[in-house]
Symmetry: C2
Subunit: 338 residues, 2 copies
DNA sequence: CTGAAAGCGCTTACAG
DNA sequence: CTGAAAGCGCTTACAG
């Protein structure tokens, strides 16, 4: 740290070759004479040479980095992940694994304030070969501004006029439909309450629409919450006359709902069925185990990476709007035997 | 993407200023005349100019990126996080939040094979201002090789001769000690079985040593597993005569243990107490709720960032070996009333 | 407050 | 197979 850090020139001098040769040895792209290669490698070792990524990136015009920009709504006081965070963790892991296979690392950045998303996105984009914008971290302004490099929007609403923005979403409508059909067809429920998510969430909006469409006149007037366990708890306490089944827009609210009902001595699923959406790990372990719709978080991340790479190779390909399938996960809270 | 991307020169020309002025406007470091600043900003907007991070990094010698290198041992088939992954998610989140406040983004990279850790670490290091090496992703070879830039080792074993590597670990010994004392003092248990972790985990080693030391002649010969729920399950099935209490080296094994005991009709905590280590969210929700020792995952990540930044400012400061406190989390599986 | 110019550390045609 | 040299797009002293 104190002594000057060695560069390709130092390595070249020590190995008795040109910097071009050092560069070739580094990326072992060109075939070097084994002896030459070895000399260079020794010099690198002896000098403790570390290539400068910025210089490489500047020259080669590729950073080998893919970025992810998201909104961090989590509670900084809590280690317990809320839904949004669990979702993001899954996406990050999926991205990382897919990126790794292709020789990319993942750069992540978050903001709390949606208004800061544009600046963050720009700053991440400037250091990467492509960027994924998650949900509400994808304001139209950002999308427009970043269009010089591949952008994929995940779980967001994307108003793209030029047609170069790829999207990845899940089939919210299909998931809700399968869930409601199960409640209606398998269990004969006819009085359904929907506890929806926040109005500004694109996923929440799609789920609500789908519920309304498929439940038809079996639907009560929907309630709404903020996707937290607490919202489910509060809703459970406020419930006066019990429906046959309660469809929650995510698992956390369903879990809070079940806890709140239990407080009041109301049994799930005997007195009322409760189902969720997301498929978080916790749902498997509560009593009764939660019937839900599983979102493929890692595949979402992996798909985003794939789309990024495709557009890197073919900038002008038509935009893809990927809808990943969701999967009905029947457990006990709907009334099915475990 | 097709048209050439604009550079500072284009912006400068359009704004009728020099590139130096554009640069100053970008970093708003120097005070520009408001009118000048505005002209530059308009030009940036009109051109859709995106600064080139590599070029900035090359010149300024700072990337404003902090890297995290870890081993990904997780099951790619499963969305359900295992312990190691939950731990990493927590650390990543802690790093991201701490980094964000200081204007850094986080670059993450993982490998499956420990032998590949060095190459990955080098590649991450070359794009960042500092790097944290997690656990087994911190081979001595990597530490030596990277020493030109700030390195902090988290939950690893670090054999550093030169004294510039900072470390962050948790107080494994203190945690185990509090756990065993509770079992012995509060519940009067005298026959303790320890289900340890893999031999190559530094954390596992410390926990085992501490258990042996504090349990003394109350300890049976320790068993060991691989930190998965499955290992706990297998151990439960293999158990012939029941101890008073089973101390598991992590929560996942404790959860598997409880499930395995239940299979056999053995009640926890009535017939045997079971406790874990880590404090994962799931432990709160199982029946009985898991008594454990809480690791402060996010603070670990945050501390790593703090140490990185300190060393960035003061390269020659003496190395810090941080031990973050753990916290005994008494719930029901030890026999305490919930 | 602003500009001209050097230089950051690589890679990549272009020769040979 | 290897080298000389230009140039990637910024920032930063140095002047003024």
């Amino acid at each position: 740290m104190t002594e000057k850090t060695p560069t390709v020139h130092d390595v070249a001098r020590r190995a008795g070759v040109s910097t071009a040769t050092v560069s070739r040895a580094l990326s072992n792209s060109a075939k070097l004479q084994p002896a030459t290669l070895q000399r260079v490698q020794r010099a690198i070792e002896e000098l403790g040479y570390l290539p400068n990524g910025a210089a490489r990136g500047l020259t080669s015009r590729r950073t080998r980095v893919l970025a992810l920009c998201f909104l961090d709504l989590g509670d900084p006081e809590s280690d317990a992940g809320d839904d949004a965070m669990l979702y993001i963790d899954g996406v990050v892991r999926g991205m990382e694994r897919a990126a790794r296979e292709r020789g990319y690392a993942i750069l992540i950045g978050a903001v709390q304030d949606p208004d800061a998303a544009l600046d963050l996105a720009v700053s991440l984009a400037s250091r990467s070969d492509g960027i994924v914008l998650l949900g509400q971290a994808a304001p139209t302004s950002a999308i427009q501004r970043l269009k010089r490099l591949p952008v994929v929007v995940v779980a967001g609403r994307c108003e793209d006029d030029q047609g170069r923005i790829d999207q990845v979403r899940v089939d919210n409508a299909g998931g809700i439909t399968a869930l409601v059909r199960h409640l209606v067809d398998a269990h004969g429920h006819r009085d359904l309450l929907y506890l929806g998510g926040p109005a500004d969430s694109p996923d929440a909006a799609e789920r609500l629409d789908a519920f309304l469409a498929v439940a038809g006149d079996r639907a009560r007037k929907p309630w709404s919450g903020d996707f937290t366990q607490h919202a489910g708890l509060v809703a459970a306490r406020a419930l006066t006359d019990l429906p046959d089944a309660i469809v929650c827009a995510n698992d956390q609210m369903a879990i809070g709902m079940i806890a709140g009902l239990r407080e009041r001595g109301i049994r799930v699923p005997e007195d009322v069925a409760v189902v969720g959406f997301d498929g978080i790990d916790l749902g498997r372990h509560i009593q009764p185990a939660l019937t839900t719709v599983r979102q493929p978080m890692q595949p979402i991340g992996a798909a985003a990476v794939t789309l990024l790479e495709r557009r890197l190779h073919t900038p002008d390909r038509p935009p893809t709007d990927l809808r990943l399938p969701t999967q009905l996960q029947i457990r006990a809270s709907c009334g099915c035997p475990q």
